[in-house]
Amino acid sequence: MVRFKSRYLLCEVCVPDRSSLQLLEDRTIYNTLRAAVNRAHGDYGSALFNIGVIVKYLNAHTGVVLIRSRKKHYRLIWSALSFITCLENRGQKVQCFLNCLHVGGTIRTCQKFLVKYNRQQLHRMLPDCKTDAEKQEVRRAILSCSLSNVREEEADEDGSDDDDDGDEET
């Protein structure tokens, strides 16, 4: 069948202090990314950005961004991510870099990866915990994050969504 296939880039915004993350908006990321693609890839890159790219999801607390682009040009957008050094948000410049965690063919695969990734991060946080109460918190968080929510969604749908899952390791 003929339809537009897309690639979802799951990225993480890494900042030196987490408080500056709170005011992040998806428009900020979009404009910064557009400027970076224009600098790195010129008029050709700007045109490709205009047709296919949109910031689908942004979590200001954890700094997770989901960027959607066309399947043919996702590498171009991905390469421009490394040129982003600061995000400008209402006159404030926040020093940061965007780290790409995962490339997926659908939002669902990115969601599954994110759950697994978060669980790994929590495992890594466990030895760093100083008090017992923190350790209990972390253990409870690890046990609570599961793929059951995602599996329920899959059971509901008829499985007609068969995007090719472009699972690539970063």
């Binding site: 693609v37 224009n38 600098r39 790195a40 890839h41 010129g42 008029d43 050709y44 890159g45 390469s79």
Partner: protein, 128 residues
């Protein structure tokens, strides 16, 4: 009896790593004094406008440059031919003056650029 001479034909795909382009710069107000470095810089600016920093960093060489005629021979890798050619097509101005690049010949072999049927001159008598 002699054997009939065999005819063999070799067909190469991607025989050469490079492509060679013979180009000439045409300015609106007649010829200016342009050095070879300025010529190459002009082409790099054109690449930068269209393809950004990544495009402008693509390596190409100016092999020969004729300052009187403003013609030159460029050498570029196969993967960059389309980008270079499109950047040359869309280049419009040099120091606020209208200009155009004319691409005379493109070939994967440098030897092919030495003979050009556009500049062919017949002798006085055509022998049939």
């Amino acid at each position: 009896m002699e054997e009939p001479s065999k005819f063999e034909r070799y067909v190469y795909k991607n025989a050469s790593v490079y492509h060679y382009m013979k180009i000439s710069l045409v300015l609106e107000n007649g010829n200016k004094y342009i050095t070879d470095a300025q010529f190459k810089q002009l082409i790099i600016c054109g690449l930068k406008d269209l393809y950004g920093e990544v495009g402008a960093s693509f390596p190409f060489d100016l092999l020969k440059f004729d300052q009187n005629e403003l013609t030159g021979i460029l050498r570029v890798y196969n993967s960059g031919l389309v980008k270079l050619w499109s950047a040359l097509t869309l280049l419009g101005s040099y120091q606020n003056e209208a200009c155009a690049f004319r691409v005379t010949q493109v070939s994967p072999f440098l030897l092919a650029l030495s003979g050009n049927s556009r500049e062919l001159r017949f002798g006085d008598q055509l022998i049939w």
